[in-house]
């Protein structure tokens, strides 16, 4: 267990920079193990950018990179994202 690891709550503000709705309550399905978890429950690592991983199998669901004017989102590990609108 990594003491530095955070969870999706830590990127709530960053996600709100882009998404018009609160994203920590969105449900993501991992395309590796099929687990469905709230974005707020995903494990968050800060490397060169942010990596959000499945809390069950560590599969990288989402990566987020940002500079002053752009953000890059990759949802490589998310099969489906369910958002309440």
């Amino acid at each position: 267990m990594d003491a530095r690891m955070l969870d999706g709550n830590a990127v709530a503000g960053l996600l709100r920079e882009v998404f018009a709705v609160e994203m920590t309550t969105a449900l993501g399905t991992c395309n590796a193990c099929g687990a469905m978890e709230a974005v707020g429950a995903l494990h968050v690592f800060r490397g060169a950018g942010i990596v959000m991983r499945c809390p069950h199998c560590d599969n990288a669901l989402v990566t987020i990179v940002k500079d002053d004017t752009r953000m890059w989102f990759a949802f490589t590990g998310v099969r489906t994202l369910q958002i309440t609108v």
Partner: protein
């Protein structure tokens, strides 16, 4: 329902320090006035951004300690000795100073009185802050939802909100402390790190299907979540907020 609303772009706001209160030797509550503050729900947090004269910036998240109250937003900050932001907030800020903050953010780690109980709150050190916001919201709403707070601190002088918790005790709310490093003379309470045994004794039990919220340093939350699931709490009923290697 606020969680389903389209919220729109979130921008940085200027907040002014109006009050600073010592909670423990290392912890302070800083009250801000934030013009046009839209209100917040218990458990939400703000992002705080500091900018040096040469443009260097640092940003951290802090849970909102206060229940919703107009334009007043209270943050309770633990001073981390090797921290970059917390020593500035606890040592430098004076009433009248201004900082940038963004929020409120969060929707997953939120409790509203309308959700009712039973409620099991598990706090490690400064992890008590968002849970205190929940208890204050509960109190303000006059709720008597069956609630337990299991609160782990290093010692009696490190217990944040100690006196207020004592006052809130009752009307369905029970506070149970565990002091992991030092205990005052005559202490008969828990004196060890949180475990499944302790959680089972404090309750509510999994059969009562409580809403469970655990917050604190990452190792604490990992241990708490594991113990809760071990006891039989349904994993999706346990909401967690990790603060990283130490404090918040």
């Amino acid at each position: 329902m606020a969680g389903a609303a389209v919220l729109g772009r979130l921008t940085w706001r200027i907040a002014e320090v109006v009050d600073i209160v010592d909670e423990t030797p290392r912890v302070k509550t800083i009250a801000f006035d934030v013009p046009d503050w839209p209100g917040h729900r218990a458990g939400q947090h703000v992002d705080v951004r500091l900018t040096a004269e040469d443009g260097y910036q640092a940003q951290r998240s802090y849970s909102i300690a206060s229940a919703a109250g107009g334009t007043r937003v209270e943050l309770t900050v633990e001073r981390l000795d090797d921290g970059e932001v917390s020593p500035y907030l606890t040592d430098e800020l004076r009433p009248g100073d201004r900082i940038e903050l963004r929020g409120p953010v969060g929707g997953y780690f939120v409790w509203e009185p309308s959700q009712g109980g039973p409620l099991l709150l598990v706090a490690g050190g400064s992890g008590v802050v968002p849970l205190m916001a929940m208890l204050r919201a509960r109190d303000a709403a006059g709720s008597d939802a069956e609630t337990r707070l299991l609160f782990s601190s290093r010692g009696w002088d490190d217990v944040i909100y100690r006196d207020e918790l004592e006052r809130l005790h009752g009307d369905g709310l029970r506070i149970v402390h565990t002091l992991t490093r030092s205990q005052p003379p005559g202490w008969t309470g828990y004196a060890r790190r949180l475990d499944a045994h302790m959680l089972a004794e404090v309750g509510p039990s999994p059969t009562e299907t409580p809403h469970v919220y655990a917050c604190g340093p990452t190792p604490f939350v990992e241990a708490a979540a594991r113990a809760l699931v071990e006891l039989g709490h349904e994993p999706h009923s346990v909401k967690t907020e990790r603060f990283g290697p130490t404090g918040g």
